[in-house]
Amino acid sequence: MTTELFTGAEMVVKALSALKVKYIFGYPGGSVLDLYDAIFQQSEIEHILVRHEQAATHMADGYTRSTGEVGVVLATSGPGATNCVTGIATAYMDSIPMVVLAGQVPTTLIGNDAFQETDIVGCTRPIIKHSFNCRDLAEIPNIIAKAFYIANTGRPGPVVVELPKDLLIPQNKAPFNIETIVKMRSYNPNIKGHPKQIRKAAKTISEAKKLVIYSGGGIVLADASALLTKLVETLKAPITNTLMGLGGISGLHDNFIGMLGMHGSLEANKTMANADVILALGARFDDRVTNNVERFCPNATIIHVDIDPTSISKTINAHIPVVGLVDIVIQQLLDELSETNYSPDEESLKDWWQQIHIWRDMSSVSYKQVEGEKIKPQRVIETMYRITNGEAYVASDVGQHQMFAAQYYPFAKPRQWINSGGAGTMGFGLPAAMGVKLAFPDKHVICITGDGSIQMNIQELSTCKQYNLPVVIITLNNRSLGMVRQWQDMVYGGRHSSSYMESLPDFTKVAEAYGHVGIKIDTLDELDSKLEEAFSIKNKLVFVDVLVDEKEHVYPMHIRQGGIDDMWISKGVKG
């Protein structure tokens, strides 16, 4: 019997098929031409050709955030691979699983400064969960299987696989062996919370008088939304979400008190500051949440549940650390509470909610739109919420528009809100929206962006045309880098250093040049009708350029170096 032999390129494709990959997002080049040839000769996996490798990573990322399936990126060696760096860092900061296949010059040339040679494993070392240098053809399938396993288990993250050209060429062949169930002696992520810690946590929760649940992106990643909702309803406690955690519980749920942190609601931050017990679930006490760590919630006992032990007590000391998958830990908590016949202390709950309602009644997340004046950006978000019944996928770029979307579009479901929270990558929005649209062609997919961010990956309008990805791009156009400008207004004496976007293009014409529809909105009275028109066009990409008030700031906002609840709630007004 003869064993069938395969080239490295064929093995990559076969391995990806075995792992049920549907799409590869990439861009060809010299060192991966054999791989592209292998992709050409099969039909199971579709390759999506972007216009810049950074967009391939964000598109894979958006696909993953909306579906939960690992995104796959393919780039050539050298500049192709280095163009992926920002996208890899973006995925890393938000714990998004991703496998990046990067070409490399032949092994005989590695280290010679060969044409298009870059040490991509070296370049990406601080921003990946793990990486592999392939040096033996026969190992390729199992390396790819390991890459997927590592990317998608424990705290998820990006994995880079470097593929030298001589391992892919037709002259070299080997048998194909793959073990899709991976076992590694050095990598066994903890899954269940320690029973002793669960008991401690449950006891602390049952004794709390002012409990708050603070949940983050971990809930979304672990698909723990239903369990979280059950926990909230069992405890009858208030819950706040981080920017990454929005949709983890419905934004319309009675117990939801809004986003917390730098641009969170006053009630969320006040509730945190006054809580006696904080139950942190899949959140990591990011500096955009805590404000000054020295002054962070001084009276609270902190229970911190996270899959990654390094996140626990990194910035804020946890009194009760629980390492484990958040969905499993929530179930353990629910079981423990039920075994100990837990019932909430109605009296203290009543007092606590009464206090929260007082903060809520201050309506910190609000704005004033005067008829006949420039459109307020918040109004645009509210209008798009109404038209889409709150059911759209919203992929955001980075800046003021991102915060307005987070504040004014309450997400009912997890994975609806797609944004670069940790890295804050401008240029993320459009390619991420494209990845979502690819996965959900029948849903409304919005890219909410600004005149600065959209220009960081605007070339992808061409990819949208090629693959028919009719996302709705809504640009809150304020002719300036709004968030930079806001800080310059507040902190730098109004000196707008390089925060103007002079010589902006006519975005509607740009969209039309790429074969799409462009709609411009510059007065309030046409906002509703033109946005409705934009969402009624189903089979074409619509680029909506909305001219908004450039003077509008995002409020509430943390007062720098203050406690979590020290906030500006409007210009010059402290909350």
């Binding site: 070392r125 050095s186 990654d308 032990p309």
Partner: protein
């Protein structure tokens, strides 16, 4: 406070660079670092001497443990352990007097002269970090040190406790 970390990791290309990279990325301090394969050739053992308070140490241990190639990590300095470091030092030994004195100091520290040249002695000494420092100070008072090389420390827990797969 000084800590000694013993790390067992896969003997894979790039594994060491991940550890070194992590220390610089997270602004952790490395006082010394040694690495070599263990009796099981598929494993490497790294020993890092570092300085930091308890909070920093906790982060270092967790962050190192998080690296996919790392199998185990253990802090040695906090409990009973043995540690050794190797020093090679080349000193000027020209006159009879200075040769005798250098030899005498070496004997006292239980080192050995392992090479001689026309005007130099090369000395080998093993011991704790402290002992090596004391030896160098003493030599410095007697003669001129031409060059020195230290291995960085390696260590193990005392008794039955072991770092193994």
């Amino acid at each position: 406070m000084r800590h000694i970390l013993a790390i067992l990791l896969e003997n894979e290309p790039g594994a060491l660079s991940r550890i070194v990279g992590l220390f610089s990325q997270r602004a952790f301090n490395i006082e010394s670092l040694t690495v070599a394969p263990t009796d099981d050739n598929s494993l490497s053992r790294v020993t890092i001497a570092t300085i930091g308070d308890d909070k920093v140490l906790e982060q270092i241990i967790k962050q190192v443990n998080k690296l996919v190639d790392v199998i185990k990590i253990s802090e040695l300095a906090d409990r009973k352990h043995v540690e050794r470091e190797l020093l090679l030092v080349k000193v000027t030994a020209m006159s009879d007097k200075s040769r005798t004195e250098v030899k005498r100091i070496t004997d006292i520290f239980r080192g050995s002269v392992i090479d001689i040249g026309k005007q130099v002695y090369t000395i080998e000494l093993t011991g704790s970090n402290d002992k090596l420092n004391a030896f160098i100070d003493t030599l410095n008072n007697e003669t001129e040190i031409i060059e020195s090389a230290r291995s960085g420390c390696v260590g193990m827990a005392r008794g039955e406790k072991a770092l193994r797969v």
